[in-house]
Subunit: 259 residues, 4 copies
C-alpha cells in the first residue's frame, strides 16, 4: 500500500499479463511467438534461416523471415508503442484500490473505456469523516503555465493561506456535524449526504488494461493536470514500472511519467 | 427545456436516427429495408410473392420470403427489443444538456459506454451558488422496499426534517462563504472548491445512443434508484417518447418508464 | 488446450480476479469486505453485533448491521447477478487463444466492449491451409426453431450432403492453389488472400472481463446461435466453471450454459 | 452515394452535431457558449469586459475574462484537437452505409469503441454474387515502405498479374457454384456459405461519433493501411470535410487526410 496525500492510499489488488504477453499478442498477426528480448540468432530455426514447412507454405523460417537472426523483441515493443499499435497493450492489466477525495474521483471517472469502478456509496453507508486538507505550500503553488491551477487573479499571501485552511477546517466540521445530525434524526442516508464537501475522502476499486492505464497517466500525470490527481497517476505509473518494466520503459516519456 | 428539482433542467440539444432507422439497420442482415409499420401486402413485390432476381439467387421475393404479405415492422421492432438485439438501437441517439446536483452526476457518470460527457468544471470557473434543497415531503419519504433510500434506523419527524433543512441551508451558506473567500484571496480555483458540497448544482452535456439511454433509464428510472436521479431518468424517457415513439412503446415497460 | 471442431482449439492464457474479488468489489459501496461464502456468525464483530467505532459514525457492526450474523456471500453473489449489478463482474477476467474458422471470428468480433482481439493476419503471413469441414451429421441438422440455421426450403438428403462436402473440398483446394500461386508469383500477400474462403481457419488472442465473457456466452451459447460458435462459447463457459465456480453457478442458467 | 472499388459504395445515412456543437460542449467546463469563429469584440459583454453578475461571483465578463475581446473559436477548436481534448468530438457523429469486400470489413470491425455495426449476414440471406477484382495496376503496386502490402519476395510481372486475375475469377465462379448448389440442395444457409471467399462483397451500416471516425481515418487512411480500406477511409474523410469543415481543417493533417 502506498500512502498518498494526507489520508489517501493506492493498493495493488490484481495484475494480469506481462511484457511478454504483449509481444505474444502482437505476434498473433504473424503467427510467431515471443522470440526473446535481445538481438541474436533466431531461436526458432536456431540461426539456420530455414525450417521444415509444418503445413505453412514456405521453407524459409517465418520467425526470422529467413535471416537466421532476430532484432530482439525489445525493439518490437518500442515500435508497437511508438506507432500506436495499442491492441496488444489490452492483453495485460491492473486492478487497484484507491482512497482519494471526491474531487479527484470526479476527474478519474471521466475515464470511461476500458475502465471499471466500484466505489463506496453514501447511499449505503455513512462516509467516514476524513477530508483532504492541502498544505500551505500546495496552496501557494501558482500553476505556472497551468492556467486551471491558477487563482482568479490575486496573488495569495501565506498568512491568507493559513487563515483559509482554518476556515476550510470549519466548513468540514460544520458539514460533518449536519451530516451526522441528519443521519441521527432519520434523514435518509442518500439525502443526509447533501452537505458532504467534495474534499471528503471516498474509496474505490478501479480496473483497466494497460492501454487504459497508460492513457490515464497521459492525461492525469501531465503538468496541466491537477496536482492531487497527478499524485495518483504517478503512483499508478510506479506500479506499472514495477510490474511491466519494459512497457514502462517504452511508454513513460510519452505519457509524462518519470524516465 | 424541462425544469427539474429546485434548480435543475434538461434540455434537448441534438437528436439523430429514428424508429425507422432502427428497422433499416436490423434489416441489413437480410438485405431488406423498412417495409412499413403495419401488416399488409408486401410493398416490394406488391403482394405477388416473387420478384425478378436482381443478382440475387432466388426469384421468390426476399422481403416477404415469397408470402406476398408482411407482418408489419412494429412487430419486428418489438421482437428486436424483447430478444435483446441491441445493435440496431445504437443507430439513433440523443444529446442533452442537464443541470443537476453533483451527487446526481456522480451516479450518472458510472454509465461509461456508450456515453460522452462535458461538464462544467470548478477548475476553470467558479461554480454558481446554487444548491439542491429537498422538500420536507421528500425527506419524509421512507424508501419502502428501497433499502438505500432509508435512514439509518430512526423514524424522521417532520419538525426534525424542517430543522435539518435549516441546518443544511447554513452549511450551504458557510461553504459558499469560504469558497468565495478563497477565490478572493487568490487560492487556486481547483483548491478553493474543496468546501463545495455534493448538493451543489453543476451542468453538463451528455450524449449517447438509444441503447445507452434505455440502459440508463433501466437502472436510474427504477424504484430502487435515488429519487433525484429518477427525476432525470424519467425526463430522458419523456424525450424518447416524443422523439422515438415506437421504440418507447416496445421498451418502456421493461426499463421502468411509464406506459 | 481444448480441441474444437475439426482443426480448432481454445487455450487459456491469463486469468485474473476470482469469485471473492467480485464480492470485495461489490462491498466497496458499503465499505465492507468479503465475509465468507456461507451463513454464520459475523466474522467482523465475532457475532457480537457491535464494534468500536474506528472513525465511523456508529457503534453497531457495519458488516452485519448489528445482527451479529451474516447471510453468506454466496447469497450476495446471486443477488448481484440476478439484479444486473454488473460492475463487480468487471473485476475478474480471462485471456484466451482460439483457432476457429473466419466465419466464426466474423461473429465473435461483433462483441466490441469490453473485448480486445489480436488475430493472425493474411496481410502479414500466409494463412495455413486449414479449413473447416462440417460432418454429414452437422449438415443434416435442421435448425428446429432456429430459422437462421435452416436451409432455404428444400430438405437435405444425406447422399446430397456427402456430395456437397466433396464439392466443398474441391473449392477449398482450388482456392488454396490460386492463393499459393499468387504468393509465388509475387502478388502482394494482402491481395493474394482474396480467394481464401470464410471456412479457412485463423487464430487470435481474445481478452475480456467476466461481464464481457458472460454476455458473449448469453448470445453465442444460445440455441439460436450458429452451432460452430456455440462450440466455442460452451468451451469458454467450461473455463469459467473451472476458474470462477461460484459465478458460474449463479450465472450459467441465465446465459444458456450447462447447469 | 459514392461508388468505391469495383462494386462498393459509401452512403450517408444520418449526421448529428456540428463544428459549433463541439465548441459549445468544450465550453461547458467554463460555463460559456459558442462565441463566434473569428477574433473580435466579446459578444457577451459587447467589448466592455464586464457584465452584471447573474449569480456568478465576479463582475468581469466570464466569456472574455474581462478582456473585452475574444481570440475566436477557430483557435479553440484547433487547440482542443492538438492537445487531445477528445471528449467534445464525441458530441457530433455520422451513420453511413457501406458495401465492401469481407476482407475490408474484417479490418473495419477491429474498431470497437465507439462504433456500432449492422451487417448483412449469410446466415439470413444468400450473399449476392459480387466479388472484388483488383485491377492489374493495383496488383503491380509494390508496397514501398509498406511491408504488409508487399509480396513474399518475387517481383510480379504484368503477364503473371493478368493470368492470376483469371485464376481468381475461376475461384470466385467455382465458389459461387458450390455455394448455390448447397443452397439448392438444402444445406443450411449458415454452412452453405463456407466456400464464400473473403473477396466477396457484403454491406453494413456503421455509426460512430467524430472522435471514432477520426481515429478510424488515422489508422485506415494511413499509407501503411491496405489500399482497399484506405479508399473507404478517404471517403469517410470527404464526408467529414463536407459536414464538419472546421473540424476537418484542424484534424485532417494529423490523421492522414488530404489538406
Amino acid at each position: 500500500m502506498v500512502k498518498l496525500l494526507d489520508n489517501g492510499y493506492l493498493n495493488q489488488i490484481d495484475v494480469w499479463g506481462s511484457d511478454q504477453r504483449i509481444i505474444e499478442s502482437a505476434r498473433m498477426s504473424t503467427a510467431k511467438g515471443f522470440l526473446g528480448w535481445e538481438p541474436g540468432p533466431c531461436p526458432v530455426c536456431e540461426g539456420r534461416g530455414s525450417t521444415e514447412s509444418m503445413g505453412h507454405l514456405f521453407a524459409p523460417c517465418l520467425s526470422c523471415e529467413g535471416k537466421g537472426k532476430i532484432a530482439g523483441d525489445a525493439k518490437l515493443l518500442k515500435r508497437l508503442w511508438d506507432y500506436g499499435h495499442s491492441t496488444p497493450f489490452e492483453m495485460a492489466g491492473l486492478t487497484i484500490e484507491v482512497k482519494a477525495p471526491i474531487m479527484v474521483f470526479r476527474e478519474w471517472h471521466r475515464h470511461r473505456v476500458p475502465f471499471g469502478y466500484s466505489e463506496m456509496s453514501a447511499r449505503y453507508v455513512p462516509l467516514p469523516d476524513e477530508n483532504y486538507v492541502p498544505t500551505v505550500d500546495r496552496l501557494m503553488v501558482r500553476g505556472g503555465t497551468n492556467k486551471q491551477a491558477q487563482s482568479t487573479g490575486t496573488a495569495l499571501h501565506d498568512v491568507d493561506a493559513i487563515a483559509w485552511l482554518a476556515e476550510l477546517a470549519d466548513v468540514y466540521e460544520h458539514a460533518q456535524r449536519v451530516y451526522k445530525l441528519g443521519l441521527g434524526m432519520g434523514v435518509p442516508k442518500e439525502l443526509a449526504r447533501l452537505p458532504v464537501p467534495v474534499g471528503r475522502y471516498s474509496a474505490m476499486r478501479a480496473t483497466s488494461n494497460l492501454r487504459g492505464w497508460l492513457g490515464f497517466c497521459k492525461l492525469r500525470a501531465a503538468e496541466t493536470a491537477q496536482y492531487e490527481i497527478r499524485v495518483y497517476a504517478h503512483a499508478v505509473g510506479d506500479l506499472i514500472r514495477e510490474l511491466f518494466p519494459r512497457t514502462y520503459e517504452v511508454a513513460a516519456a510519452s505519457v509524462g511519467l518519470a524516465t
